[in-house]
């Protein structure tokens, strides 16, 4: 007969010995500081999703979650991106994320017992900074949307200004997160409109002022289009504002280096680097900056240093910026971060390496997306919505059907279609945002084009 559950080793006899050591008769005596009338004098009640009551055995639990997870067929072909990208993840990434020595330890506050974690973070920082061209990276944030918030607050601290300009070509849910946070405190957030799929630069020039802390531009933008970053940086710098380059599809960094376009801060989402789509999270927020700005950097960062014998060693740097030391004067409240996703990114980037990542981004994403764009825009009714722009791995086309009706039809063929743009932009009805990655090959694109052609002119329910 078991005394306890699988994760507790304390037997009845252990319990008796411990209670006698403490000098009480029963465990409830230890709770004597909780006033009687405030205690829960009953069992917790958990309705069971199955016919059997809780607790489940390991077998029942496995069967149950296997069954409900299988309601999602993992064999779908995805033509859907919009801030979450279905990239191939090398087996070695998943394997190392499952090593207990990586997934169980705490934040590396004590350097001597966490050298593995600290070196992983140091290498991650180096990899990210090489991608962005900047000099400093932190060790991770939650996701791209909160990274955008942190970057703006950092810019406000650096400039002493309280106005932030953001473009409407930024992921709509990122803007929603942004507006949620900036409702509190003394802020002015200005959203700049769209012209032909990119940020309206005239409107930007009309709105920027000496009060503007930063201009935030997503590139590639929500429609997949590569924006005129040079021009935006130029306008921002005329007013001594910072240009924050927001990157949501991090794989684009393999082809476009934000510092080539004078970005001051690069922040965003690196889910593309080895993190599964996993229904929206956990992902990998990142932020990079110049050395001169690092005292205002949010979150943890690792420095290389030495031990007292002069041997190379790693430790956390700049705790004075962080919440556990400076409390209400901290640069951010972030404590738990997304270190395991940063490990995934490090292994992923190292696996592709210098040549592989460029080839993946160029041939299997950008070139392939242009190939798909040509194939799809040849089909009557699927005209280009923002012609003349260069895009990375996503593009917008007209849709001759109601987009959700089309997507329901595609689902019958195990295809997850593109995003219905109207979901976020009421002005764009019957427009679809398709995404192409290395997991959608020529055959998949041909199959999609065939189905679209076949459905053309048909009434969809």
């Amino acid at each position: 007969m078991k005394d306890s559950n699988p994760y507790i080793s304390t037997t009845k006899s252990d319990r008796a010995k411990m209670l006698s050591e403490i000098g009480v008769n029963k465990i409830d005596d230890l709770y004597n500081t909780i006033p009687q009338q405030l205690r829960l004098n009953r069992d917790l009640i958990f309705p069971s999703p199955l016919k059997v009551d809780l607790p489940f055995s390991e077998i029942e639990l496995h069967d149950y979650l296997n069954e409900i997870s299988a309601k999602n067929n993992s064999q779908y072909k995805y033509f859907l991106g919009a801030g979450c990208y279905n990239h191939y993840i090398p087996s070695i990434v998943d394997l190392f994320l499952k090593l207990p020595k990586f997934y169980t330890p705490y934040t590396p506050y004590k350097p001597e017992t966490n050298q593995g974690t600290l070196q992983v973070m140091y290498e991650y920082q180096t990899l990210m900074s090489r991608l962005t061209g900047l000099e400093v990276s932190n060790a991770s944030l939650y996701d791209g949307a909160t990274a955008m918030v942190e970057a703006a607050k950092m810019a406000a601290r650096l400039t002493g200004r309280n106005e932030i300009i953001i473009s409407k070509t930024i992921h709509p849910e990122y803007r929603q997160v942004f507006q949620t946070y900036f409702r509190y405190g003394d802020w002015r957030v200005v959203e700049i409109g769209i012209e032909d799929g990119t940020t309206n630069l005239k409107e930007l020039e009309q709105n920027i002022s000496e009060q503007t802390a930063a201009v935030i531009l997503q590139c590639p933008n929500f429609f997949g289009i590569i924006e005129d970053m040079h021009q935006v940086a130029h306008i921002a710098h005329k007013y001594a504002s910072l240009y924050i380059s927001l990157v949501v599809e991090a794989l684009s960094l393999a082809l476009i280096k934000p510092t080539d376009f004078d970005a001051d801060i690069v922040a965003g989402e690196a889910q593309s680097f080895g993190t599964h789509m996993s229904f929206g999270g956990p992902y990998l927020g990142f932020i990079n900056c110049y050395n001169k700005h690092k005292s205002k950097l949010p979150g943890r960062a690792v420095t290389k240093t030495e031990d007292i014998d002069g041997k190379t060693a790693y430790m956390l740097w700049g705790a004075a910026r962080e919440q556990h030391i400076s409390r209400n004067r901290a640069t951010s409240n972030i404590c738990s971060n997304h270190a395991l996703n940063a490990l995934a990114a490090s292994i992923y980037l190292t696996w592709y390496g210098n040549k592989g990542l460029g080839e993946l981004a160029d041939v299997y994403n950008m070139q392939m997306a242009h190939y798909a764009y040509e194939a799809i825009t040849k089909i009557p009714g699927y005209g280009a919505v923002f012609p003349g722009n260069t895009f990375f791995n996503e593009f917008v086309v007209d849709c001759p059907h109601n987009v959700s009706a089309l997507n329901k039809k595609l689902l019958e063929h195990s295809i997850i279609g593109g995003l219905d743009l109207e979901r976020f932009y009421s002005e764009y009805t019957n427009k679809i945002l398709f995404c192409i990655t290395e997991k959608t090959n020529h055959d998949d694109i041909a199959k999609l084009a065939d189905i679209l052609t076949y459905l053309n002119g048909k009434e969809l329910q």
């Binding site: 306890s4 000098g23 350097p111 939650y142 929206g280 240093t305 996703n341 390496g353």
Partner: protein
């Protein structure tokens, strides 16, 4: 030979090596970016064999909570069951896009629906948002909910209070959202100083943030009175759920008078800390605050689960999608595996272990800040040389250090958790006794220093690390 444990991956790089493989393609390449295309990236070029060796060697430098008790107070470093890792990695969960059709995501939504119900029952709340990524993110969410609630009522409340013993994230969350932070003192017993609270609880205070059990590991018995003081002035009471592991099935924050609660799934519900994260910080509210929760929430309509984007006074969103989904699956599975009795057993055993530790250590001559009281799931010891104590435990006994210098300088906050064995607790105590002897007596120290150290480096040169930061590796010419 270089003096380092594991060479940086960049130093293993050699042109011509690569780990990746990509399918053959007949695509005709075009020049799409022209001069805007970057030149080299600067990533290392290594084989997969080298990558495997590198990361295995790095992992080996970490002390692992699987092999050692990790009694970090306030962090709840309990055992993370492999079952939960396996379940969260089911392909149906992992390979799911957040925007795919709801008919395909019913399983995922079912998990969220039930997890919300269970957390409500545990915390005594009306509804949870599962969106926040971490405890501090839950705090931000809770503060924004309180802020929106008072804006809606046209009450300009600009201040938020928290005790001096609160986690650093509390004041940081407050000021980062533009509220004014004010500290409330603790009394001589480690509880909230009621007089000070009454003085500071004015009508411009939105929120009092409290951890209960608090960071001294004590349950504040005046919680009923505290709630009264806050509510009388129209304020809200916030529960920092960092220490929830002590009270599951014993009492519920909602019944204690709390209005907003965040729960750290990576503490109480056994999801791993993963070197710092990802965790998850679901945030629950009482009935009157439900209409302010972030969108979307998960609802059940008949037999169908659906994401609800229509919440009347919603604060908006705190994450791009729905939260740290994989972490939610693990916590859900954990609750199903343990059930009501199991969760209560978790809390009772955690409290038993901490009290056992406190009593044993007291008998061995260690002193405690509030040793005259029973502690909850953690106990706070005092020692004149806490840094040496923690370090020597790791260096010569392969023990993980507890939380040091918190909530006060010189404190050693020990949280053994329910998943440790009595034997491992006893062993930790014996190691502490040995180290204490060495600190106090040079002859014992000499004996200790003859032992083979367990650490891969000696003591860190922190002064140098702080003064001369090197945050990235330079590229070699």
């Amino acid at each position: 030979m270089e003096k380092e444990n594991v060479q940086l991956i960049f130093k293993e790089s050699q042109g011509g090596r690569a780990a990746y493989s990509l399918p053959k393609t007949a695509i005709k390449k075009k020049d799409l970016l022209g001069k805007d295309k970057r030149e080299t990236i600067g990533l290392p070029e290594v084989s997969e064999r080298q990558i495997a060796g590198h990361y295995q060697n790095l992992a080996d430098l970490n002390f692992c909570p699987y092999s050692e008790m990790d009694p970090l107070g306030s962090c709840t470093m309990k055992y993370n069951p492999p079952l939960m890792e396996a379940l969260a990695s089911l392909p149906g969960f992992l390979d799911m896009h957040p925007y795919q059709d709801e008919s395909t995501t019913q399983g995922a939504l079912e998990v969220m629906y039930y997890l919300d119900l269970y957390l409500c029952e545990i915390a005594g709340m009306a509804q949870f948002t599962l969106q926040p990524s971490a405890g501090a993110h839950g705090e931000s969410t809770g503060i924004m909910i309180a802020g929106a609630y008072f804006m809606h009522r046209n009450e300009g409340r600009t201040k938020i209070l928290a005790p001096d013993s609160s986690h650093g994230t509390n004041p940081a969350s407050v000021t980062n959202l533009g509220f004014e932070y004010e500290q409330v003192n603790s009394n001589g017993r480690g509880w909230v100083d009621l007089e000070d609270l009454e003085k500071k609880m004015t009508e411009d205070v939105a929120l009092f943030m409290l951890t209960n059990p608090n960071t001294y590991g004590l349950f504040d018995p005046n919680i009923g009175k505290i709630a009264e003081i806050i509510h009388e002035k129209g304020g809200l009471l916030y529960y920092d759920g960092a220490n929830l592991n002590a009270i599951m099935g014993k009492c519920r924050p909602g019944d204690l008078g709390f209005d907003i609660v965040h729960i750290n799934l990576h503490k109480t519900f056994g999801t791993p800390h993963a070197m710092g994260g990802p965790g998850a910080g679901p945030t629950g509210v009482v009935e009157k605050l439900k209409d302010f929760l972030p969108i979307p929430t998960v609802e059940k309509q008949g037999k169908r689960y659906t994401l609800n984007y229509f919440i009347e006074h919603t604060i908006g969103k705190v994450n791009a999608f729905y939260g740290n989904y994989s972490v939610l699956v693990k916590a859900f599975a954990y609750i199903l595996m343990l059930g009501p009795e199991g969760l209560r057993n978790v809390s009772e055993t955690a409290v038993l272990h901490a009290n056992y530790m406190q009593e044993r250590l007291k008998k061995r001559g260690f002193s405690f800040s509030y040793g005259d009281q029973h502690c909850m799931h953690e106990c706070v010891m005092k020692h004149e040389n806490i840094d040496a104590l923690g370090h020597l435990l790791s260096e010569y006994f392969k023990k993980l250090q507890a939380t040091i210098h918190f909530p006060q300088a010189g404190c050693y906050m020990i949280e053994p958790t329910e998943t440790e064995t009595k034997e491992s607790i006893d062993e930790y105590i014996e190691a502490m006794v040995e180290v204490d002897k060495a600190i106090k007596d040079p002859t014992f120290m000499e004996g200790l220093e003859k032992k083979q150290p367990f650490l891969p480096i000696r003591k860190i040169n922190a002064k140098k690390g702080m003064a001369r930061p090197c945050l990235i590796e330079g590229e070699e010419e």
